[in-house]
């Protein structure tokens, strides 16, 4: 059952990501991404991390992507980019893809693949780890997020004055 679900979810996830990349319309791309995030949440649930699964769905599919789609629907983008912009986008995305590949290889070097973790992680354990062992990274991340939020508000305010 778990194996069947795994292959179902992961194939839908990969299909959704492909759909996101290949679709010409930005709104459809965003919707495909939502589907991918939801499947990713399901995969987290399968490997015994229900808290991660639900948080993935609440934050990415339920909040962030809603805002993306909100903006896309409001401003009604034209389909596709101009050929001049497209050149730069392709060059830039190739560089980014290479960097991501390098990161993935480095990250998975030490990890042992092929064995599934036993049992499931409760929200309690995650909370305890976040507030003891990983307290500093956690706090630094929240400061970063607040800085980004304040920055965004400041940028918007300046434009309004002019």
């Amino acid at each position: 059952m778990a194996i069947f679900l795994f292959f179902l979810l992961s194939s839908v996830c990969v299909g959704a990501v492909l759909g996101m990349i290949l679709s010409k319309n930005q709104a459809y791309s965003a919707l495909f991404l939502v589907l991918a995030f939801t499947c990713l949440g399901g995969l987290f649930g399968l490997i015994g991390a229900p808290f991660m699964a639900v948080v993935q769905i609440i934050i990415y599919a339920g909040a962030i992507m809603v805002l993306f789609i909100f903006v896309i629907m409001m401003i009604n983008l034209r389909e596709g980019l101009s050929s001049e912009k497209k050149k730069w986008t392709i060059a830039f995305s190739v560089v980014l893809a290479l960097v991501l590949l390098l990161e993935l290889v480095l990250a998975s070097k030490g990890a042992s693949l092929g064995q599934s973790p036993e049992g499931s992680v409760s929200p309690k354990e995650i909370g305890q780890l976040l507030f003891t062992k990983y307290l500093y990274p956690f706090e630094i991340t929240s400061v970063l997020i607040i800085a980004a939020l304040v920055g965004a508000i400041v940028l918007v305010k300046k434009k309004e004055k002019e």
Binding site: V54, I57, M74
Partner: protein
Amino acid sequence: MDIVIVLIKIVLALVWFLVLTLYLTWLERKESAVIQDRVGANRASIFGIRILGLFQPFADAIKMIFKEDFVPAFSKKFLHTLAPFLSFFFVAICITAMPFGNDIMVGGRTISLQIFDANVGLLFVLAMLSLGIYGILLSGWASNNRYSLLGGIRGAAQLISYEVALGLSLVGLIMVFPSLKLSEIVQSQGGLLFGFLPKWGVFLQPLGFIIFLFAALAETKRVPFDLPEGESEIIGFFTEYGGLKWGLFMMTDFMEIIIVSTLLTTLFFGGWQVPWLSADGFQFPWGGQWQMARWLVIIFQVLAFNIKVFFFCWLQILIRWTYPRFRYDQLMDMGWKLLVPLSLVNIVGTGLLLMVIK
């Protein structure tokens, strides 16, 4: 055997949910009629038997099924059709996480009266409710109609804003009953406070309850929070829908009322707990006792859950027909400037109190 039991539970829960939804439409008609000094729908009859218009929901359903299924020519057809189903699905699935009663023993087998007891059940319900936004956004956008788009955008903005308050108002509750599992939250509301008061969430988290009530009312998108619909100005995100698809949106509304009621019951009013009723009968704080058989206790508990849910459904309809609509800035002010800071105060206060007690 286990799969059969789960299937039976799913069918029973869905039947309960849909029948209650149907009859909420009847309750809404009758309650609004009483409030406005009318009689209300009373003509639907089978062989001349009317009984207060109790057949009206079935007449409505049959009418909706046989209406023309119209899809506007310039709409995005696939998304236009998908949207009501998304909206319906994400509300309907919430019922799987709700505990209807204590565990029962049948033939040496323990059966919990709950379909899916996830250890993050509370977050699961919140996640599914937040995914329900897509139904609104997509219906507004795919209809290719400005009024629908306005309604969809208003709806998404409102739901996103109030989700913050909704989530934060529950943090205090999670601190008091240290669990995200809905069955455990209900179990730990079984004790007594000061020897006589049932240990319900509403007595431990009064501020959290009020914030949750307001945020949850806003999540149902009904008057006084019905800006996405705005009957008198923009008609809302389902302007371009008719027949059964419109009916699905309508049903989603009523199902959201039920889900909010079950959440209020489960989190703040002890779920299936009856005050002073333990596994072998009533034990009153003034010393009286009333022995009861195990099966009778279970029936009492399931009944208590149902009565509490009905009460909150009734209360929400009462609120809907009593208050006028908020203005948009008032709505946003209330969400961000009142409910969110209050829920933060609630979290800090709860934390301090818990520390003092320990």
